[in-house]
Amino acid sequence: MSAPPITQPRIVEVRRNILKRNDELAHDLRQRFQSAGVFVVSLVSSPGSGKTAFLEKTLTLLRQRQYRPAALVGDLATDNDAARLARSLAPVKQITTGTLCHLEAAMIDKALEDWNLDEIDFLFIENVGNLVCPASYDLGENLRLVLLSVTEGEDKPLKYPTIFNSSDIAIVTKVDLAEAVEFDWSVANANIQAVRPGMQVLRVSSKTGEGMEEWLAALPSRR
């Protein structure tokens, strides 16, 4: 390539998104999901907030209702979570990221290579336990859930506003422990509404099943 050595403007405008490659891939994924009729939900939270237990319960309940759910689960290492989720009998695949603290669209794309999307109604993507980096990466999902367990404290949304702001629904988990840890629901909800006005908040216990009906009602009905 040879550019003419004529006067070039010293500052040129570019305006290009730095995560463009991920965004483009996520856009392609979203189109593929849509044409195959797959509704995609991603889950983000800190480690230990109950993503896997919540997901296992969700997969089991959806299967009981004759839906065909599947899940991808991201962790730095081990396939323990995939093994737990597989108890639901839904197709599950572990994505181990090595040292990477979040999932990217390319990993989803690769993990789906040998799955037939036409055989899936709901795809759940459990992100690496992390409230920072996953906020920046679009995975082609329709719905992003942020989970907050009652044991983490009511001020989590204020500490990590970006992840709450980029999510669609907040799920407060382990509500069966709320009393024991003196969890103040109104404070937590006010904090969530401050960082993401109008956000839908659901309270669940994966252990007792409390709130799971409301959660399933938030999903679109299919077929």
Partner: protein, 108 residues
């Protein structure tokens, strides 16, 4: 790193011209912190042709659409996403998610 690839492409398009500086627009809702981006750039650009290129980061404040004022307004804070003028909450974010290369300073 996206910035490096992007800069390489843009420089090549212009005949491999040297890039003095890369201007980045960064919003607090992008999930990226200025200091982290600067140190990541240092690592990523090392031993590339852009090692000496400066990363100039312009921080973009969060702005929402206020339904009450019927215009774009700054927010009280990232923890309080409401209009700075009238306190109306809004999740209609107009600015603050930016993570983009806005321009390049090219060598004369």
């Amino acid at each position: 790193m996206g910035i490096l690839e992007l800069t390489e492409e843009e420089s090549e398009k212009r005949g491999g011209v040297h890039v003095d500086a890369i201007h980045v627009r960064l919003g607090p809702l992008s999930g990226v912190v200025k200091e982290a981006l600067l140190s990541a750039w240092q690592l990523a650009s090392e031993q590339t042709e852009f090692e000496s290129s400066r990363l100039v980061i312009e921080e973009v404040p969060i702005a929402i659409y206020c339904s009450n004022c019927q215009t774009e307004r700054p927010v009280r804070s990232i923890q309080q996403m409401c209009c700075v003028e009238c306190d109306t909450p809004s999740s209609d974010v107009m600015h603050g998610r930016e993570l983009l290369v806005s321009g390049l300073e090219l060598a004369e």
